[in-house]
């Protein structure tokens, strides 16, 4: 940790990988309430690409700057925000951990207390993302394999969020887990599901949050997906995009077995073989695991 005492913990993931669940857990751990968690109260601070957050920090209008011009200002904004936070902040981020054209890091070390990276089986990510965006599975697979993939990038219109460069799914993972200058913890979505108490305790400890087992269990109970789904049935989640009516769709592991065809599975495995292998999503024959007994999912920490 630098002498500057950075305050920002980045909650990083490729989209549809469990980020909101982790944020809901953090929120409940920090706000240990007896009453039921209302997902509309969910607030762990703005996403890293929140235009207003960045603009208020910089202190001037950035709406007439290009995406690249704004990116060059973002590290300064994060540094200022970190310096002016009274306590640690937990901010979601979907951008890849990248280096800008002036060689500075988009997420500067002086602002970064640590990065929690959540990785999820790209086969399940593809299914979830297709439902979420309304795009075809083929389009999603292509985007996940493309290092130029980004969100809010259409230069012809105004976006409430700044452009987020995802890169490809593999490069996204590698960018964060191999960022050697910042402290990070990598967790798999599948482990969060199967070994919740253990893994969420690890997360709490990494993020310097309460680690008491009762509190962890209470927080987890508050944000069980079936609870969030029931709430979503009665009113839309505030962060849900227009492209879908369900933010908390299934959250299950192995949904791809019912949805993807062989060709689609093959395409994803071909695009992301190395990273899938490294994180235990492929068996020794290079085939995706189809059963999900966590004992079989071996976690290769070589990248961390």
């Amino acid at each position: 940790m630098s002498k500057l005492n950075p305050k920002i913990y980045w909650l990083a993931s490729y989209p549809r990988s469990g980020n909101t669940w982790v944020r809901a857990f953090i929120f409940n751990l920090l706000n240990n309430k007896q009453k039921d968690f209302d997902m509309d109260d969910l607030d762990t601070g703005p996403i890293a690409s929140c235009r207003k957050w960045i603009e208020d920090a910089l202190g001037f209008d950035i709406s007439e700057l290009s995406h690249n011009e704004i990116d060059l200002l973002r590290p300064t904004a994060y540094r200022w925000l970190s310096e002016n936070m009274s306590q640690n902040g937990y901010h979601k981020v979907h951008d890849a951990y990248s280096t800008l054209s002036n060689n500075s890091h988009l997420f500067p070390v002086e602002a970064t207390r640590g990065a929690l990276y959540i990785i999820r089986n790209p086969l399940d990510v593809a299914v979830s993302l297709a439902y979420f965006t309304g795009d075809s599975i083929e389009k999603v697979i292509m985007d996940m394999g493309n290092t130029d993939t980004s969100a809010c990038e259409n230069p012809r219109k105004f976006h409430k969020q700044l452009r987020q460069s995802f890169s490809s799914w593999s490069q996204h993972v590698l960018s964060w887990v191999s960022a050697s200058n910042i402290s990070n913890l990598v967790v798999r979505y599948e482990d969060l599901k199967f070994r919740s108490v253990e893994k969420f305790s690890e997360i709490a400890s990494f993020l310097q949050l309460p680690t008491d087992e009762v509190l962890i269990k209470n927080a987890l109970a508050q944000c069980r997906i079936d609870k969030l789904q029931t709430q979503e049935l009665s009113r839309p989640f505030k962060e849900c995009p227009q492209s879908t009516t369900r933010f908390f769709r299934k959250g299950v592991i192995g949904d791809w077995l019912d949805v993807l065809n062989n060709k689609q599975v093959e395409a994803i495995v071909n695009d992301h073989r190395n990273v899938m292998e490294a994180f235990g999503y492929l068996d020794s024959a290079g085939k995706p695991y189809t059963t999900f007994d966590t004992q079989e999912l071996k976690f290769d920490s070589a990248y961390c």
Binding site: G59, L65, T76, R156, F158, K160, C240, Q242
Partner: protein, 300 residues
Amino acid sequence: MRHYKAFGLNIVSELELPSLILAPFKNADVWIKKGKVSKNGLIAPKRIRPFCQQAPSEIWLHVPGIARFYISQGNKVIVEPYEDADEQSVRLFILGSCMGAIMHQKNRLVIHGNAIRFGDGCVIFSGKSGTGKSTLAAALYQKGYEVLADDLAVIDEQLNVQPSYPQMKLWQDSAEKLGLDICQLNKIRLQIDKYAYPMDRGFCQKALPVKAIYVLNNHKNDQFLLQPIEGADKLPPLKNHTYRPGYLDGLGLKAQHFKLCSQLASRIQMTRITRPSHKFELDSLIENIEMDLHSKSFAA
């Protein structure tokens, strides 16, 4: 030196500002000059942001790659452009951030929104960025309404909106929705796909009293909602939609601003208008607004 009239002020500028209206006058209210501007900011700033600082009567602004600006006493803008900065970009920050700062220093109420003439007064459409303010202003302009201001609605002590300048700014997406041919329009900066939509007619050059403010909003439902904002509830939206409200703290003008907002709130009607976010139905939006204004007995 060029002489312009905008926001109810006589402006003398060393830099050419082609979107403003040229007008001869003897006494200037605001001077815009090129000169040296500190690289580090103000001597005694009261509010500090990485690229912008404020002190009573002073604002320092640094837009990397474009220019540094020093705005003081409500009457002076000193501009130091980067050597390789294009004039278009420098001008844009003069007319936006710098004029907004001047107006704050002059103790005007600056609302982030546009002002459209309805009868013998005007109506301001305000709202967060991305709620369609400029698109609505351009659509009303196309329908024949006169426009006083786009983006910054400057309200003077008499609670009149002072006309800004005869140009709107539209993202390509909005311009196309409005049926405009972008080949006929100029980009406001070459670096972005936002276009200047000049008002060759229908720019209202007369200051007009504010009659109502609509706060634009959107939601995920299909309905349009019009909800009157009453009494003290008018103050938070006025504060929130003030142009860069953070400046007021640094300038020491928060109390003054509150007074202005209160005066305005007691004189005008305010309505929150919520439209479906998934489809920008301009015609229905305008229809709803016209009906509401009609019910308030505001002639078009």
